[in-house]
Subunit: 319 residues, 2 copies
């Protein structure tokens, strides 16, 4: 697969504009005081389907050739990419097939079906998922849209930081969470082209720090199924995203689970917005590294807001 | 006491502008589909101190004569008015005294003190509160700023709908929750002057429906301590607010507790914003009265976002 280039981002932006929100940028006196920096929060929790992933998925779906429409798209995901691909496919009225372990939360299954996606349930193991997916591809001929290791997806996610740059002035750095690296690769692609002076940081749970270790070791390290409250960040980077991260990311900061939960709750409390645990990871990283960011203008990507409101992490800690 | 007039609103708006946010207006495809109407949410949960009450409190504080500064302001409240008055007093660097039952949530006490307010604790009864307040006034000579039955406060709250009208076009109606009636009176004051064609609705918990019964009976009915999850709406109207409501409000709609909780959770889930139970009351009222609002452009005042994140009402229902 080829790395996407900035022309792909421009094309993606034009393609997806009718289907996605230009999400707002919020500021917070509380977090400015706590961090000693000036923070600008790009709120993709307000994005269609509740996460930035709508950008990449919509780019893939609306970039399909007309003759690919009938077979539709397919993916394996139990998270925001599944919702986003179903959302996008629904907008273009094409089929969307999602392989998902039968143990996935009912709310996620309902949301995928609510957008018109079809779910193929499998046992919760990598081999079962791969078998189900192979059978699905054979049966439907659907186009596989990987959650992040896909040039169309990366180009779509890259529209977020492009938009962000038109909404803020003279940022010193941008920080985003890293799981598979789709969003962070998008930031690398955009910023290295239009704002190379802006430093790019990743933020990662210490309990799922394969991206940080990869960057420090200079080679791609992938762990199997780490445990963290930031469930969007469990997956490892792959070839494409690793190429961007290794080349353009200044550092990847890691934070522990309690810091993630505390930062998440504090954002809800003071900013009055619903964010996922993943989004709290960069916030926690900023608060844990004041000397790195003090006095600077920092862009923070709030990646999504799809949370199970019946299972909030600060409540699960009790009892 | 005299009713405030629209010139007071204009003066208030100028006075408070440096200290309050021009809060955003959000829309939601989900709620448009559910209601069959076009809804515009004026998000005062993003206001300073987390609620619209910052407007009225700031107007009172910054309207004090210089010779009143040393004695400061005082109030009794265990809710958003206490936070807001402390916030405003802090901005003008004057004392703020708040009488509060010692049973009030620790988080509220911490927030008041965080803004620099001084708390005088009393037993949780009306007589104890009044005794504590009389003693406080005698001791400090502080200016009493009532949470809603104060022309300065009503004029301040009225800036919200004034701002709202510049952010939206041709609304058919505005709906706001009613407790003491400060926000709704502000809407009456502003809209009767600058947009008299806009209908004004109140929304109230069925279990605290004294405002609805007052409007229907044509006389002020006040209940003592009703029980509802919408804890901001337990207080009754008083002379000033009743004058506005009786004259300008088209109707007051009531909803049951479960509908409030469901609407609150749905707003969090789909709009990704943190709102108080009180704000969910008008949302629930719209969903419960589709024929009243279908096809219309409706402004909904989201009054605040100060919620105890450890005690969410949909979780307290379990077990």
């Amino acid at each position: 697969m080829q790395l996407p280039v900035f022309d792909d981002v421009i094309a993606a932006h034009e393609r997806i504009a009718p289907w996605i929100h230009r999400t707002p940028v919020l500021t917070s006196e509380t977090f400015d005081q706590l961090s000693g920096a000036q923070l600008f929060f790009k709120c993709e929790n307000f994005q269609k389907a509740g996460a930035f992933k709508a950008r990449g998925a919509t780019n893939a779906v609306f970039g399909l050739r007309p003759d690919q429409r009938a077979a539709g798209v397919a993916t394996h995901s139990s998270g925001n990419h599944a919702l986003s691909l179903s959302y996008a496919a629904g907008r273009r009225s094409i089929p969307c097939h999602v392989v998902m372990p039968h143990t996935a939360p009912q709310a996620k299954k309902d949301a995928v079906r609510g957008y018109g996606g079809e779910i193929i349930e499998c046992e919760p193991s990598t081999s079962a998922r791969e078998a189900a997916f192979t059978e699905l591809e054979r049966r439907t001929g659907a186009d596989f849209v990987h959650p992040y290791n896909d040039p169309r997806v990366i180009a779509g996610q890259a529209t977020c930081s492009r938009e962000f740059m038109t909404q803020t002035e003279e940022l010193d750095a941008v920080i985003a969470p890293i799981g598979g690296g789709g969003m962070l690769s998008g930031c690398c692609l955009t910023l290295s082209t239009i704002a190379p002076q802006v430093k790019i940081y990743g933020a990662e749970p210490r309990q799922a720090d394969d991206a940080a270790r990869s960057l420090h070791a200079g080679r791609l390290i992938t762990d199997d199924a780490p445990q963290t409250v930031a469930d969007g960040l469990k997956v490892p980077m792959k070839e494409l995203t690793w190429q961007f991260v290794r080349q353009y990311v200044a550092d990847i900061l890691t934070v522990d689970e309690q810091a993630i939960i505390d930062a998440m709750k504090l954002v809800w409390q003071r900013m009055k917005i619903v964010i996922e645990p993943s989004c709290a990871v960069p916030v926690a990283a900023i608060l844990a590294n004041p000397s790195l960011f003090a006095g600077q203008r920092i862009g923070v990507i709030i990646t999504g807001g799809n949370v199970d409101l019946d299972r909030l992490p600060w409540l699960n800690q009790e009892g």
